[in-house]
């Protein structure tokens, strides 16, 4: 069987599974559509949350980010997991007790204000739409690479599959497909990682292999990697960062953002009890950690593998790197996986010094220029897109063709599961918060389910359109989605739970200040609405205020939000007695019952 047929078989089988689940899990009521009936087991929900959370970026790009940045990019690992501690301790149990269907629903009711509700709806839609575009394009890339069809057709196929289970099944259909998608994506991620860890270190568990001995050189793997990187002019893999303030704030922004992203929060509305919401957050993190603990191992091993492929003499115990690096791989002898990826344009070779061999080093490092010149190197000749590390892993490790088929199905599962969660967050905000709560309060239960299905269909069409024609902000998921969730939504939810005296005006002022300050800071460096050339200051560290990058500003925006909200609440009228009682009642699990129908 050809590789194409195997890929088709794996992807096709996974789709058949999702469609089967869609037929089995149709939603009949608003409660089923929005919160899967509210009876999802905490471990099941943990698994669904993990699939909801781990996007195309987690599956495809994160290992590449870690491989290229080394220690400096650890923020992604800590930020995208540490947010779950905030969710479990500060938000999920109380929002579950409150028992509503959407995040704006909580903000609108708690701050007794439709203005607050609508600001939350806008924040939710901007964050989620930005996020969903990346999922659609990610699915398109996976389709085009593995099934050899144009990426646009891939996006349409992805949209059609999501349509089937999200429009008919709502949260119920999404929950159970996410569980299946989690299983597919985690197997697809870990199997190649286990084989690579075995090949490089003899240890089958990647997270341990990363810190053990590299068999070929007899050195600790990370020490070997750092040594050879430095010999090629790259930065030491474990090098510390000098701007610790920025790294701290960036990690904090990712954590606040993770805790404030609506598509994650609504997953905790589906469990039966308050205690289940706490356990479920723990399970979610366990399932997420299986991938997030493996990713740094994949990153370091794949980077070492790539270098020793190019410099075979440098793989073992090296006395003299000058000699070991003198005979790089001849272009003619390049392995098959290099040829495959050359076809995609994500890996390119230009023979700058015409010696027929591949020189791969850091030509942007001025301190290394002299060494390179002495060696007769005239520039780096191999450029490798970060995103191919995970996708090419099975080929680099010479794994059987079915593993490649599995990785194809896994990458698509990661994109689809996150897209569905985001689309549900968007469509429920429209049908529940805009239509039911603001425009047409007398809509019937049946009418609202119908409205929810139409909103979902419209959201899918919008996401498909934006996936086919990605706007400038599509690449700004971290800045926009996490920035807004961190600066605007997270503080509002936290104050709504922990401060009885927080009132409508305080919350509204805080959300607006957090949102606007963050957007202004981002636009200053990345351009107004991300239009190239419209930035007022160059986006380089010496122009940043106190060295804070635009991507790290979410945490500062959150603090401005808290400060403004408390100042305004202090000088304006306290919330009405019934709201204060409501906040009190949210604090105690007793009497939560199911998500209230209303």
């Amino acid at each position: 069987m050809s590789q194409f047929a195997i890929n088709l078989l794996f992807v096709g089988a996974s789709f058949a599974l999702y469609i089967g689940i869609a037929i089995w899990a149709r939603a009949g009521s608003t409660k089923e559509f929005y919160v899967a009936g509210g009876g999802v087991h905490p471990i099941t929900n943990g698994m669904a949350t993990a699939a909801d959370w781990m996007s195309a970026a987690s599956f495809i790009s994160m290992a590449g980010l870690l491989a290229s940045g080394g220690y400096a990019n650890s923020s992604f690992l800590m930020g995208w997991t540490g947010g779950y501690v905030l969710l479990a301790l500060l938000l999920a149990p109380y929002l579950r007790k409150f028992g509503k269907f959407t995040v704006p629903d909580f903000i609108g009711d708690r701050f007794y204000s439709n203005t607050a509700r609508n600001i939350a709806v806008v924040c939710l839609i901007v964050a989620s739409v930005t996020y969903v575009i990346g999922q659609m394009t990610g699915a398109g890339v996976a389709f085009s690479r593995f099934l050899e069809i144009p990426s646009a057709a891939g996006i349409w196929i992805a949209a059609a599959i999501v349509f089937l289970y999200a429009v008919f099944g709502g949260m119920k259909g999404i929950t159970y497909t996410q569980v299946a998608q989690y299983v597919v994506l985690i197997i697809a991620y870990t199997i190649p990682a286990v084989f690579i860890a075995l090949q490089l270190t003899g240890n089958p568990i990647p997270m341990f292999g990363m810190f053990s001995t590299h068999t070929e050189s007899g050195m600790p793997l990370l020490a070997k990697l750092s040594e050879v990187l430095v010999e090629l002019g790259f930065q030491d893999y474990a090098a510390d960062v000098s701007n610790k303030l920025n790294m701290t704030l960036f990690t904090l922004s990712l954590m606040f953002g993770t805790a404030g992203l609506p598509h994650v929060i609504i997953r905790f509305f589906t469990v039966p009890k308050v205690a289940d919401a706490r356990w479920s957050a723990g399970w979610a993190l366990v399932f997420i950690a299986i991938l997030y603990l493996t990713a740094p191992a994949v990153a370091s091993m794949a980077r070492l593998n790539l270098i020793t492929t190019v410099y075979p003499d440098a793989a073992g115990q090296v006395e003299n790197y000058e000699e070991a690096l003198a005979n790089p791989l001849a272009y003619e002898d390049r392995p098959d996986w290099v040829r495959t990826w050359e076809d995609t344009g994500l890996l390119t070779f230009t023979d700058k010094n015409n010696d027929g061999r591949i020189q791969f080093y850091n030509d942007a490092n001025p301190d290394f220029a002299e060494t390179a010149a002495e060696r007769g190197w005239e520039g780096n000749e191999l450029s490798v897109n970060n995103d191919i590390l995970v996708l090419a892993n099975p080929e680099i490790a010479n794994l059987p063709p079915w593993v490649i088929g599995l990785v194809a199905a896994g990458g698509i599962a990661a994109a689809l599961s996150t897209a569905a969660g985001l689309l549900l967050a968007i469509s429920s905000a429209i049908s529940h918060d805009l239509i039911k709560k603001t425009i047409k309060p007398d809509i019937s239960e049946k009418g609202e389910v119908m409205a929810a299905r139409f909103s979902m269909a419209a959201a899918i069409l919008l996401a498909t359109y934006l996936g086919l024609n990605p706007p400038g902000f599509a690449a700004q998921t971290v800045a926009l989605a996490f920035g807004i969730a961190a600066a605007s939504i997270f503080p509002a939810l936290m104050m709504g739970i922990f401060s009885i005296k927080m009132n409508d005006k305080g919350a509204i002022a805080g959300m607006l200040v957090g949102l606007i300050s963050t957007l202004l800071y981002i636009f200053t460096y990345l351009g107004w609405l991300f239009i190239p050339g419209t930035n007022m200051l160059p986006n380089t560290p010496d122009n940043w205020l106190f060295g804070i990058s635009p991507l790290s500003f979410g945490a500062v925006g959150a603090m401005l939000n808290f400060g403004t909200a408390f100042a305004v609440a202090k000088v304006t009228a306290a919330p009405p007695a019934e709201i204060q009682e409501l906040v009190e009642s949210v604090r105690y699990p007793k009497g939560a019952g199911g998500a209230v129908d209303h």
């Binding site: 870690l66 220690y71 650890s74 690992l77 800590m78 997991t81 540490g82 779950y84 501690v85 479990a88 301790l89 500060l90 149990p93 997270m207 990363m210 810190f211 053990s212 050195m219 600790p220 793997l221 990370l222 020490a223 070997k224 750092s226 893999y237 474990a238 510390d240 610790k244 790294m247 701290t248 990690t251 904090l252 009890k273 308050v274 205690a275 706490r278 356990w279 957050a281 723990g282 993190l285 366990v286 950690a289 997030y292 603990l293 740094p296 009190e584 604090r587 105690y588 699990p589 007793k590 009497g591 939560a592």
Partner: protein, 86 residues
Amino acid sequence: MADDKSNAAAYWSANLRLIFGSLFVWALVSYGFAILLRPLLAGIPVGGTDLGFWFAQQGSILCFIAIIFHYAWKMNKLDEKFGLGE
């Protein structure tokens, strides 16, 4: 009623103490060991690198899991002790 109120207040302050303790550990392992205090831990070698690097890429995540399960377990006991569970 007064009893109910003081019972609820005691539950809430016990919860807040638990949250503060948990968040202290959360911040210590990530912002502390993995970022700001990393130079202090540089002398402790872990598999070819230092303890701070291990916390940044593995240790903090493992601690986060432990924090959440510990909190959920403790809160269940508090729910029961104060009779406020479901």
